[in-house]
């Protein structure tokens, strides 16, 4: 066990875990950030997608030790009021079914729009390719990313 200083959602947290503990379990078990979902543990499903230094990343395949000097944002910290354009677009288009993969989908979409505010379909498909939804909400996800992009443009 060792102590690691993590910066998560704008706050500093000191955690006492083994250095090889996946960041996923640090966020969920130690910090109670259960919006970060466990789906596969091996970087294949995207359910835990969060932002590390502003980029979409998979906390299940990063360790506590890797994460010490990074800036981590989970879905809980994406916006103060839950009204990030992506979150609003998701609600407007009634995207979710069971909702379990959606925090990861939302975080992947937000990271995409931060670097490419007006993505074409190919860019959307590329950015969300490895975010699996078992309920089959993909058609609405695609529309909601486009909608979020429009909301961001209108409000710029």
């Amino acid at each position: 066990m060792a102590r690691y200083l993590l910066r998560v959602n704008g706050e500093r947290h000191e955690v006492d875990v083994d250095g090889d503990t996946p960041l996923l379990w640090v966020l969920r078990d130690e910090l109670g950030l259960t919006g970060v979902k466990y789906g596969c543990g091996v970087g294949l499903c995207g359910a835990c997608t969060s932002h590390v230094d502003g980029q979409a990343a998979r906390p299940c395949v990063r360790t506590a030790a890797d994460s010490a000097k990074t800036r981590i944002t989970t879905v809980e910290g994406l916006s103060r009021d839950g009204n990030h354009p992506v979150q609003r677009a998701w609600r407007e288009l009634d995207v979710a079914q069971c909702g379990y993969c959606q925090p990861g989908q939302v975080m992947a979409a937000a990271a995409l729009l931060a670097r490419d505010p007006d993505p074409d379909d190919a860019a959307i498909e590329e950015a969300l390719r490895d975010n699996v939804c078992r309920c089959g909400t993909y058609p609405r996800i695609r529309d909601a990313v486009r909608r979020a992009s429009r909301i961001m443009r209108e409000e710029r």
Binding site: V17, D18, T21, W25, R28, D29, E30, G32, L33, T34, G35, V36, K37, Y38, G39, C40, G41, V42, L44, C45, A47, T74, V75, E76, L78, S79, G82, V86, Q87, W90, R91, E92, D94, A96, Q97, C98, G99, Y100, C101, Q102, P103, V106, I124, E125, E126, L128, R129, D130, N131, V132, C133, R134, C135, G136, T137, Y138, P139, R140, I141, R142
Partner: protein
């Protein structure tokens, strides 16, 4: 007029929603029955008796209550019912019944509350009830003004419901039900990560367990060396689980954190015995092929379809949390059947049901898998050992390799064609396995009843040969209809191709004149502009299904050369679409399931073990493969139908036909060996 005692007897669809008409409370609240209550402040709370596994039942309950009480859905606080069939009736999410069976009792409960409030206001104002209306959480009268519900709750609670006539709001007056603008009530929590799924249940002092599971089907632990595992930090205990009372069996490691439990499981040294270490799903498929009679009953056109094993693979892997105390048990579980689970646990533990509390968590998908209690039984065994709450967590590989799979099947269809190319006699011979999770499903008649919904006027027989299942099998969305309809519709498509007949016209000709399917088939053909020739390089597939009290027709359009599904049109008649966005969502979900299972996902067994372990090799569809999906809700006057499973069978048939192009469909998935 609805009497106090019989308030909720008529639950519809043969359901036994035995609602106890809870007497009006003396504490000042208004409780017309178990589903709805208003407190002194006028706050409305609705109980959702069935779990929400993504099918949207919470949203529909909120809409129904808000509609009848003239408020907005957000004004209705939802309480997810714990397992308790005596209070809430059957609670299982199965057979696409949640909304069908709840709509009458929940709407009646809320309408009863409204009628009591209106009567209380009319009495106070000394005006006729008929002159009063409800709007924005208040009773209104043209001259007397407005009385908010909170000012009426006490007076309403003092009335005897048996003296107050109750009328449901008629559909033509609906503001919310049937309207497209209403979205899912949990959307804000979902998009901000606040929804608590079963996996997020961590009662104080809780531990985490993971289980070393059999490395081949049916194996049981022989020798266990847990010295290294127990020496690791955070490890609390190691125990052997014995199937079936303690789940599927294995060796559980209980630790303080998930990572510690996973590491300790890796450090276990277990040898295994028994089971079937050489089992192979290709052999199983051959055995099913061989189980069909040597000759089909009709000497005519013939085609064979081979169907693979499928896993449920919900995004939230199996898990359950239990706290076994001297005075009872509390369970936190993503379950499809909290009431059944409670009854089973009480029986198994030899305790009264009143000492078993089952908290119903949100489920990250279910698709039939969470009707089974095995993760809960594991958690109970672990918690009984430690005396603390324990969450049993399955890894994705645990989940994929220890599922209750959709059975493999082989279908041989044969038909005699008349001079006009239409089938005049048909036979459908099936060889498959039962559902091991429900032993009565070894009965061929039940398998036939689940699978066979052939709607066309062609005389013939469906015969089912049942072989013993070589691994756990269970309910997978649409159950046997997925395989049967796939075979039947693709065989009909092949007949149409052979006879040079238009696929929609062929089906229209064969449907009985009174069939509900005519309207949906015509509607979908119009949406898909069927009478225009398809674009060059594209092919189309069509299929129908009437089941669950609803009817659907699907047309898929694909580019077979690039194996790309372009568009799917569906027209559904669900009687009354209470939540149109939710209706469309269920159809869209079934279409993605259908595409996934046609183009890649199957479970295979090699050397006794399921080969697939995650979404890298169980190839579920991704965003980039997603077609445009166009769902038409056909207006209807038939009673409310079910929907959650309706679209999968015709979608998988139509998508396969479209993607196959000119080639005959032989099974799924395409492009790889089945099994």
């Amino acid at each position: 007029m609805i009497s106090r005692r019989t308030l909720l007897r008529g639950a519809g669809a043969g359901a036994l929603v035995v609602a106890i008409p809870v007497p009006v409370l003396a504490s000042g609240g208004l409780v017309p029955n178990v589903f709805v209550r208003l407190d002194d402040a006028g706050r409305i709370t609705a109980t959702v008796p069935r779990p929400d596994t993504g099918q949207g039942v919470r949203t529909v309950v909120a809409l129904m209550v808000a509609e009848e009480l003239s408020v907005e859905p957000g004004d209705v606080q939802l309480e997810q019912a714990p397992g308790d069939t005596e209070r809430f009736g059957p609670q299982a999410v199965m057979n696409s019944t949640s909304v069908r069976q709840l709509s009458t009792p929940v709407r009646t409960a809320a309408a009863t509350a409204r009628c009591l409030l209106v009567t209380a206001a009319a009495t106070r104002w000394r005006v006729p009830v008929a002159e009063c209306t409800t709007r924005d959480g208040a009773v209104h009268h043209p001259r007397r003004g407005r009385a908010p519900y909170r000012s009426l709750v006490r007076a309403a609670a003092a009335l005897d419901p048996a003296t107050v006539p109750v009328a449901l709001t008629p559909p033509e007056k609906w503001r919310l039900l049937g309207k497209t603008r209403a979205g899912r009530v949990d959307a804000r929590d979902i998009t901000t990560g606040r929804t608590r799924y079963g996996i997020d249940s961590r009662p104080p002092g809780g531990l985490v367990a993971v289980v070393a599971r059999p490395p081949w089907i049916g194996a049981v632990p022989d020798t266990i060396d847990d010295t290294a595992a127990r020496a690791l930090p955070g490890v609390v205990d190691v125990l052997t689980l014995t199937a079936p009372a303690e789940g599927q069996g294995g060796v559980a490691v209980i630790a303080k954190s998930t990572h510690q439990a996973l590491k300790a499981r890796d450090a276990l040294r277990v040898t295994w015995r028994g089971g079937t270490p050489t089992a192979d799903s290709r052999t199983w498929l051959s055995d099913l092929r061989a189980a069909l009679p040597a000759q089909g009953p009709i000497n005519g056109m013939q085609q064979v379809f081979e169907m693979p094993l499928l896993a449920h693979a919900p995004m939230e892997p199996m898990n359950a949390t239990a706290h076994v105390r001297p005075d009872g048990v509390t369970i936190w579980a993503p379950t499809q059947d909290p009431g059944g689970l409670r009854t089973q646990l009480a029986r198994q533990l030899g305790v009264p049901a009143t000492s078993v509390r089952v908290e119903t968590a949100a489920s990250g998908g279910a698709f039939g898998r969470r009707i089974e209690p095995d993760p809960v039984l594991e958690a109970v065994a672990c918690s009984r050992r430690t005396g603390t709450p324990v969450q049993v967590l399955w890894t994705r590989a645990d989940d994929m390799r220890n599922d209750s799979y959709r059975p493999m099947s082989v279908h041989r269809l044969s038909a005699e064609l008349g001079p006009d190319g239409l089938p005049i006699r048909r036979a459908h011979e099936v060889a498959t396995w039962p559902l091991t999770v429900l032993p009565i499903f070894a009965n061929p008649a039940l398998i036939k009843a689940s699978g066979d919904h052939f709607p066309y006027s062609v005389p013939g027989d469906v015969t089912v040969t049942v072989r013993p299942a070589p691994l756990r099998t269970g309910f997978w969305r649409s159950v046997y209809a997925g395989q049967f309809v796939y075979a039947e519709e693709n065989f009909l498509t092949e007949i149409g191709k052979r006879s040079g007949l238009d696929q929609v016209a062929l089906r229209r000709t064969l449907l009985p004149p009174a069939s509900r399917l005519h309207r949906v088939l015509d509607a979908v053909a119009a949406r898909a502009r069927w009478t225009r020739p398809p674009a060059p390089g594209t092919t189309r597939g069509v299929a129908c299904l009437e089941d669950y009290g609803s009817a659907i027709a699907v047309i898929a359009v694909a580019d077979p050369a690039s194996r790309r599904l372009l568009r799917v049109h569906a027209a559904v008649d669900v009687g009354v679409a209470l939540h149109p966005s939710g209706v469309r969502a269920q159809v869209e979900g079934c279409v993605i399931d259908a595409l996934s299972t046609v183009l890649g996902a199957q479970i295979t067994v090699r050397n006794g073990q399921v080969a697939e372990s995650s979404f890298g090799d169980y190839k579920w569809a991704r965003l980039g493969q997603t077609p445009d999906i166009d769902v038409t809700i056909v207006p209807s006057t038939t009673p409310l139908g079910g929907l959650g499973e309706l679209a999968y069978p015709p979608a998988v048939a139509a998508i396969a036909a479209a993607l196959a192009g000119d080639a005959p469909v032989t099974g799924m998935p395409f492009g790889v060996d089945v099994g």
